[in-house]
Amino acid sequence: MASLSRSLRRVPLSVWLAGLLALAIIAAAALSPLIAPFNPTDLTSFNLMDAELPPRFSAEGDPRFLLGTDNQGRDLLSAMLYGARVSILIGGGAVAIAAVVGVMLGLLAGYFGGWVDAVIMRIGDIILSFPTILLALLVAGVARMLFPAASSAEWAPIILVGAIAIHEWVQYARTVRAATMVESARDYVRAVKVIGLPSRQIMLRHILPNVMGPVLVIATINLAAAVLTEATLSFLGVGMPPTYPSLGTLIRIGNEFVFSGVWWIALFPALLLVLLVLGVNIVGDWLRDLFNPKLRGRG
């Protein structure tokens, strides 16, 4: 633990910057209803006649729209902030659900072992045989077939969270299971078992706190991956609808205009997406190295 805090004190500048960047984007997205100049989800707030105005700094820019407008006359900056919020909420939601489910199942599998362990881990094996994007496409696609409402602004985020989380929980379960097995073999856990504490309490009070470190690392790296997966699904047309766009939806819409000189609709959201994911990735990378003693202190 001592070495850990020492490492924390020696956080490289690049990680600081990346962390701040990611936090700034997340904060701006979270506060978008307060700080965005317009509300792009309010269909009455924009005017088609303002469509495709270039950013303010270019010759034909309009002072009202810093980064210009999209093809519907929405303020692009506002659409991006709201879009980033949608992307982060979906990505974060998927990570949260995957982490909770994964940690619980990992605890159960590691603590009880036997058939509980076998069933959970085999299901995990099967799920891991498929890449995230395929499974997510499948879940989103099937949901759309079963309930036409699945593509609506209310339901699409829930479907997307489920579609992404269904794959990601396995990683947590595997990590926590391994750690739990090690922990349950320790003397103090044996001791409390002998005292007769209920197993739920043992798992939650004594084992869980000790496996949280690795879970945090996985969650950080997964957040970046989940945001990318959501963007990809929206780009492929099974994500957020155009009336309630995520960053991926904005890029999909903007992609149709890249040849007509209207480059900003695709470029700015893509840039924001890359910056967000990059920031989270750098922090996640550093965290991973930190928890991996072999790599610590090396390039």
Binding site: L137, G141, A224, L228, V238, L295, G299
Partner: protein
């Protein structure tokens, strides 16, 4: 060894059975198969007859058994949208995807290993830092953005390379290849770079961390202490040991690449299985989706099993355990 083999094959069979079950559930319960087959003014009587003819009145387990039987015979039903046997559609699209994945894998190995070595040996050098930074940007950029940027630069602005499709293909029996024509090879360039990028960073990082790992092991320290040349240590001893997991991961990643090809194929309108699948999703073409799932599942299980078995053969520790 034999016990390991049997256990591994048993596990593979179990996974396939589970995938088949999911695929069957989709096929059977997502959308009414009868509604998709009868004319709109068919009577209740006609529908019931069709139901019986299709065996849909049987218990679900019996139906699942039949589904398995048909699947093993390679009969995946008929696509709702394209109105052709799904097996034929997949066979038609398979070469395009496999050639793309092969190119992407070669590309990522050819670039990823040297760059990884560079980063491991001179971790503080300018080149290594640059490569590291670029690789981070690489994994943070969505595939579709990379694809669009490449098309804009090399196809539209510079006019050097084609922006979509496979170019001219040559039919070798059932296999259509783009390797034998200039236009086919040119068409491969941008999509395979797009697809390889993520894989490339993965391999690079893996080579780096494995090499650092091996270099700090006692066994290398011992070699160094014995005065073996650095060159020999790095490239003969260390790299060889570090490449084991790289080969494993590359093998395992082939399945992921096939899945990731969905995005690349959409951006480049590459007529492979990924495009087939994404079109099936947007057209609610359940038989194609179910078959694609089964097919990719099979591929994954095969790759995983083969890699595991190979590993068992190659890895000295496992060999010792087995004997």
């Amino acid at each position: 060894m034999l016990r390991f083999l049997i256990a591994r094959l048993g596990q593979a069979a179990l996974v396939m059975l589970a995938v088949a079950a999911v695929s069957f559930l989709m096929f059977r319960f997502v959308g009414d198969p009868v509604a998709g087959m009868v004319r709109e003014d068919a009577s209740v009587q006609e529908k019931a007859e069709l139901r019986q003819a299709l065996g849909l009145d049987q218990p679900v387990l019996v139906q699942f058994g039949r589904f398995l039987g048909r699947t093993i015979r390679g009969d995946f039903g008929v696509s709702y949208r394209n109105q052709r046997p799904v097996a034929a559609l997949i066979a038609e699209r398979l070469p395009a995807t496999l050639e793309l994945v092969l190119m992407a894998t070669l590309l990522s190995l050819a670039l990823g290993i040297p760059l990884g070595v560079l980063c491991a040996l001179k971790p503080d050098g300018v080149a290594a830092r640059l490569v590291q930074a670029v690789s981070l940007i690489g994994i943070s950029t969505p595939t579709f953005v990379t694809g669009i940027v490449l098309i804009l630069t090399f196809a539209v602005t510079l006019g050097l390379l084609p922006s979509f499709g496979r170019g001219q293909t040559v039919q070798l029996g059932p296999w259509s290849t783009g390797f034998l024509t200039v236009s086919g090879l040119k068409a491969l360039v941008l999509p395979s770079i797009t697809l390889a990028l993520y894989q490339l960073t993965l391999i690079m990082r893996l080579v780096r961390s494995e090499l650092i790992d091996v270099l700090s092991s006692d066994y290398i320290r011992f070699a160094r202490a014995r005065g073996l040349s650095l060159r020999r240590i790095h490239f003969t001893l260390a790299l060889r040991n570090a490449l084991m997991p790289v080969i494993t991961v590359t093998g395992l990643q082939i399945g992921s690449l096939i899945a990731f090809a969905i995005v690349t194929e959409t951006v480049f309108q590459w007529p492979g299985m990924g495009l087939l699948f994404i079109q099936a999703v947007s057209f609610s073409d359940v038989p194609v989706m179910a078959a694609y799932l089964l097919f990719v599942g099979l591929l994954f299980v095969l790759i995983n099993t083969v890699v595991d078995l190979l590993y068992a053969v190659v890895d000295p520790r496992l060999r010792v355990k087995a004997s």
